[in-house]
Symmetry: C2
Subunit: 377 residues, 2 copies
């Protein structure tokens, strides 16, 4: 299997070595945890080679390893023209049957990663192309081809392939440190966590307990997200907030139930903040999308953000619901997010839409007898 990675390549040589080693480690972890046998995984000349006889299954797994841009199941043979021709023809025919085409258009793309091989790339392409034309129904078309036969030569070996499978891209998990992600059980928060994973973060998932039904749902969601988290270690952390009853009581007494949601989110972030420090996470991830619900306003997010001095990352902030749902379906969390939840009895009829920080502070004092303050203040 030829594994191609993107952005890593653009980094300094030293960073790149480090990225490669983490990516290789994540690939190994992925294959092992899905119990797919492999002989070896190693980096060579800007690509990673995975030696395995279980190409098909490994594709499904490696597609979910971030940092990988594309995958090509390839045959490794000695770099001799005759062998290359035969193998290329064999794979070409396999692909032709697969597409069941009478007379497919094709092209050959050769690259010499190392230069020992006597022929230059264009010559190799010509030779292999001729050989296929001579032995099968086909026609060369460099632009609109049905089949592309790839030939990569390095260190006396040739790698022949006819498939190039697109993966998620992103950065290897672990290269960007840790963040805490709040998982509510809704559609959005898992997508937000996913996108931070994709950019190389190890995600520590935190769920604020609402009830058993919701908890079970969130566990299912996290188990699905884990399939993209190879290299990350975290298990779901569930927090039962002690202060909740107290807050709800007091707000009711003050006839300020409309602030319940803002307080609830504020306390979530406060809890996430605690966890973040314990585990050395450098940020908090939330699924906010601006204006999606009446209460997801700049004003309310301002208040909630005051609960921690850690940056709050909101990868969905600029997305429409439609776009979020699309990702949720792709990554397999959508169906899970639509499973039944526990009724939340204390949701107010009219949550405050543009909460006031001054008002919030006043209420906070009433409830806790002190100003809300974040670390480092």
């Amino acid at each position: 299997m030829i594994v191609r990675y993107g952005e890593i390549g653009t980094k300094s040589r030293q960073t790149r070595k480090w990225f490669e080693s983490i990516l290789i480690n994540n690939i190994r972890e992925a294959l092992v945890s899905e119990s797919i046998d492999y002989k070896s995984v190693f980096a060579k000349h800007g690509r990673i080679i995975v030696k395995t006889n279980r190409a098909k299954e490994s594709i499904d797994v490696l597609k979910r390893v971030f940092g990988i841009v594309s995958l090509s199941p390839a045959m490794e043979i000695d770099a001799e023209l005759e062998k290359i021709n035969k193998t290329a023809l064999k794979l070409f025919r396999k692909k032709k049957r697969e597409l069941n085409l009478e007379k497919p258009k094709f092209r050959v793309t050769a690259r010499r990663i190392t230069k020992e091989f006597p022929l230059k790339s264009p010559e190799i392409q010509a030779k292999v192309g001729e050989y296929i034309l001579k032995n099968d129904e086909a026609e060369v078309d460099l632009k609109n081809y049905d089949i592309e036969v790839g030939v990569e030569l390095m260190e006396g070996k040739a790698y022949i392939f006819v498939d190039k499978i697109k993966a998620w891209g992103g950065l290897p998990i672990g290269t960007q440190g840790k963040v805490v992600a709040l998982l509510s059980g809704g559609i959005d928060s898992p997508v937000a966590a996913f996108l931070m994973m994709k950019r190389g973060c190890e995600v520590i998932p935190v769920h604020i307990y609402m009830g058993e039904k919701t908890l079970e749902k969130v566990r299912k969601i996290w188990n699905q997200l884990k399939k993209y988290h190879y290299g990350g270690k975290a298990d779901l952390i569930v927090i039962k907030p002690k202060e909740r009853e107290k807050i709800i009581e007091k707000l009711k007494g003050l006839k300020k139930e409309n602030y319940t949601c803002v307080f609830c989110k504020f306390m979530m972030v406060k809890n996430a903040d605690k966890i973040a420090r314990e585990f050395g996470a450098k940020g908090i991830v939330m699924g906010d999308s601006l204006g999606q619900v009446a209460s997801q306003t700049l004003e309310n997010m301002y208040i909630v953000s005051q609960a921690s001095d850690l940056p709050i990352y909101r990868p969905l902030i600029g997305m429409d619901k439609e776009e979020i749902v699309e990702i949720a379906k792709k990554i397999g969390t959508f169906e899970l997010s639509t499973l039944p939840e526990d009724e939340v009895p204390f949701i107010p009829k009219h949550p405050v839409i543009r909460g006031s920080w001054e008002e919030f502070k006043k209420l906070y004092r009433e409830i806790f007898g002190e100003e809300p303050k974040k670390r480092g203040c």
Copy 2:
């Protein structure tokens, strides 16, 4: 022109009225500023009607008004079956020529927004379909059709159309308040600003002066972004930071040039914070994408975030460069972002990759003789 909007529809009746009025206002502003004549713009039964004889030009403009999901240039006629048939056939033929198809597959989709019309939707569809079949080469196919003839009936009028143009969606600018967006002249920051506009924010663009060439470029970029900012008023604000020389000097003296970039960004946010308060903006927008460059780390973003208590919105945080570039090309800022810039003489060879907040505070004291502190602390 029938204008369809999405998420707005899902809000409470009252909020919805408010959204509609803002969207209508933005549509008017768009048409006026592009000097496209129109008779009237009004909301009716969950859609907006724009009466104009300049459908073609108005499409290009309205596609850039956020909150709009799709557009259909339509003929408005009295709701009488014969007229509907004739108009439907006429538009069908026009579309047929446009696609130049011998015998197109088509379907008719009718909706009664208000119910005065005697026939029910399925009956209308049948009648109109028959009429087209009787008078032209065509064949009905409800699944794989080349042409869809739309018929919408409301208040004695019928609206006939054969096109449905997709727009950006999002929320009308002005519905979500104001944010300050830092524009650097690079590829990312304009895309970040664009996405916040798309979610209904009025964006106040702030550029920290680097030189005339870069400023020129940023002006071009903002002029392009303005084409998506109908309803927003802001002009580019340019700030010449006084402290820069001092900081650079001191850091050089302290042999801590590696912190130059972090300081530079910190001061940018400090300046953005000032502007935000003057203009009542509730957040700051930045184009950070995690790990894109070695210095865009969680650690450095933590430090930078300490410059303001306002939430910093980073809509690109979870995106790969490739995805960002794709949007930049769509919205027409990419080419502008690749125009030449002023050389920045003080960029260090090795910017700190994981800056330490403690170290930063120490340096800040050395330079300014006081702790860095944010408002509200």
